[in-house]
Amino acid sequence: MQQLLLLGDEAIAQGAIDAGISGVYAYPGTPSTEITEYIQSSKEASNRNIRSLWSANEKTAMESAIGMSYAGKKALVCMKHVGLNVAADAFVNAGITGANGGLVVLSADDPSMHSSQNEQDSRFYGKFSLIPCMEPSNQQEAYDMTRYAFEISEKFGTPVLIRVTTRLAHSRAGVIRKEILDQNEMHLPSDLKQFVLLPAIARKQYNKLLGKQDQFEADSAQSGYNKLIDGPDKSRGIIACGIAYNYLMENYEDGIIPHPVFKVGQYPIDRNMLSKLYEAVDEILVLEDGYPIIEELLKGMLDKGKTVRGRLDGSIPRAGELNPNIVGKALKLETSEGFNTPEILAGRPPRLCDGCSHTDSFLALNEAMEAYSKGRVFSDIGCYTLSALAPLESINSCVDMGASITMAIGAADAGLVPSVAAIGDSTFTHSGITGLLDAVNCNAPITVLIMDNSTTGMTGGQTSSAFEKVDAIVRGVGVEEEHIKVITPLKRNHEENLKIYKEELAYEGVSVIIARRECIQTLARRMKQKAIQKREAKKA
C-alpha cells in the first residue's frame, strides 16, 4: 500500500480517516493542532463528508464526540494535554457511559514545556478513567494504533485514549497506509439509558466498566503493543514506554539490546509480561517520556523489592523530555559529546511579530497603568502572553484558558482595584464568557481588554470561534452598553486609545475594551491568497 511521509500528528489523522471516522472535534493546541488541520485539508476526508470544524473548546469538542458516538458513528477528539483538563468532566464520565460508535481521544503531551504551562502526563487520565490508553513509539505505530483504538473502542464499548508527546507529534517519517474502512451507519445504543448517568444507572455502568478491566489488560497482551523481548544479559531489565523505546534503540549499534526489554505501547499493561521481566533480571530501568508512572507503581511506596531505576532515583532527570543521551547515561553507556557552546551565544526568545496589534494594545495599556501600582494585569494564553517578557513586560499572570477575567475578579475582591484582564478573542470564547458573566453578576470593578485579532494566533491562525461575535457576546452577557468600547490598536490611535483606557480603568464596575485589528500573519496570508486568485483570474 501507499507510503506517505507524515508527521506523527498527520499519521494519527490519516489513521482516523482510514478507520472510518465521521467526525473530528478539536480546539487548536500545540502539539496536537496538525491532526485536525490535516483532516480539514484532506480531499478524502471532504469526499467522505467528515466533519472537522474547530470547536469552541476541548470540553465542547469532547461532548460533541460523545454525541456522535451515542448516535453510532466513529469520532476522534484531539487536544493538547492541558486541554484534557478542560474536557476532563466529559472525558471521565465518558468512561462510565461507555461508547457506542468508536470514540477515540487524542491527547498530545509536551514534556519540557516547549509550548505549554506544565508537562502533565495524560496516561494518568487513562488510568483515572479506567479506559485503555495507547502510546505509539513511532509514526507507523501512530497510524496503526489509531486504527486499532477505534477497533477496541467498539469491541469493548469504551472510549480509548491515545497519548503522544511533542517529538512524535512533530517528527516526520514514512508511513504505510492500509485499506480505508467504511463509516458506520447511524445506530443508537441498544439500551437508551446507557448515557443517563443518574446515580442508579451510573453505579451499574461503573460496575460494568470495572468488569472490563481484565479484558483491557488481556488485550494489551494479545494486541502486540505490549512486547517482551529477551536478551542475554540479565543484570538489568528495561521497560520502555512509547517513544522512549526509540531512544533506547538508538544507543545500540543495529538496535540489538543485550538486556531483556518490555516494550510498552498499550495500557493497562500486561502484568504477566511485567512479572516475567521482574523475575528474570537483577534490576529494572524504566524509561518514560513523561511522569514516572510505571516506575512509581513498580517501586511501590515502600520500595522493598528489586532496584528500580528511572526518574525517581535520579538515573534520569525528574523533569523534561528524554533524548538519546539521557537514556544512554541511564544505561551507563559512554555517550558522545560535541563542542562546547561558545559563551557569546545569546538567547533568542519568541516575540510578538513586528506590526502586531497586541504591541499597540499593550503600549497604551502600559501607559494607562502608570497611574497605579504595579502587578494588576491578569492575562491568558495566546501570542499576547509574550508581553510578559521585555520590552513590554505588561502582564502578571498566565495560568489557564480564561483565567484572566476570573482572577481579576478575585483580586478585585481582595482589594486590588482596578484589576485588569487581558485576553484574546479565541481564548475569550474558549473559557472567558462564563467568567465575564460572573463579573457582571457581582459588578466587579475590573477592566477587561479583549484583544480581538480575529484568529487563533499562537497555534498558527486557525478560525476563531469568536470571529465577528465578540461585541454581541459581551452585550449579551450584560455588560453595560456605555462601558463597551471598541478601539483599533494602531500607533496613530495611541492618544485616543489611551484616553479610553484611562476612563474605563477609573470606572468601578465591569468595562470591556475590545481592541480589534487582524493578526498581521493571517492578513498577509489572506493578501497573498487574493493576489494568487487575481493572477489566476487574469490568466483565465
Partner: protein, 194 residues
Amino acid sequence: MKKDIILGGVGGQGILTIAATIGTAALMEGLQLKQAEVHGMSQRGGDVQSNLRLSSKPIASDLIPEGKADLIISVEPMESLRYMNMLNKESGWIISSMNPVKNISNYPDLEEVLAEIWKLPKNVTIDAENVAKEQGSVKAANIVILGAASPFLGLKVESLEAAIEQIFSKKGEEMVKLNLKAFRAGREYAEKRT
C-alpha cells in the same frame, strides 16, 4: 549511508523548505528519513531547529544524539553556534550564512560570532543574501545555503535539483529557475572554498 543534520535558524527564515528539499531528494534515492521539526511558540521570531536524519537503514530516534551530527546547516550565523554541542568533533561540518538576524538587543558582535565558526576545523560561511541577490532575488538565500551544504550531504546533485524543481513548481517556472541558480551558486562557492 547515514547523515545526521541539524538545521538552524530564526522562525520564518525557511529552514523547513531546506529540510523538505533534502528529504525529497533522499526519498528519490530510496533512503529512510526522520525529521523532527519545531512548531508552536518558538516560530514567533525565536530560535528554531530541525533534526533531519537520513539513512539506508531503519532510523530509531527522531532526535540526533549530542556529538553525532554530521552537519549543521544554519541560515543565521549565531544560530549555528547554538547547536555546536550536537556536532561530531571529528567529522562534523558547519555550513552557515554570514547574514545576521538582529531581532534581539544583546546580539553579540558579528565578527566574534564568525570567529567562533572559523575556529572549527570544518566550516563554510557564505554571504548567502548577496549571492542570492546576484542570482536574482534575496528570497533564495536559504537555497544558496542548501547549495553550499550540498557537497557534504551524500546525495546526488541530480536528486537535489529534481527536488528543488518538485518543491518550487507550485510557485511557478520563474521560482524554479531562480532557486536552481541559487543552489548552483551556493554549491560552486562551497566547492571552491574546500
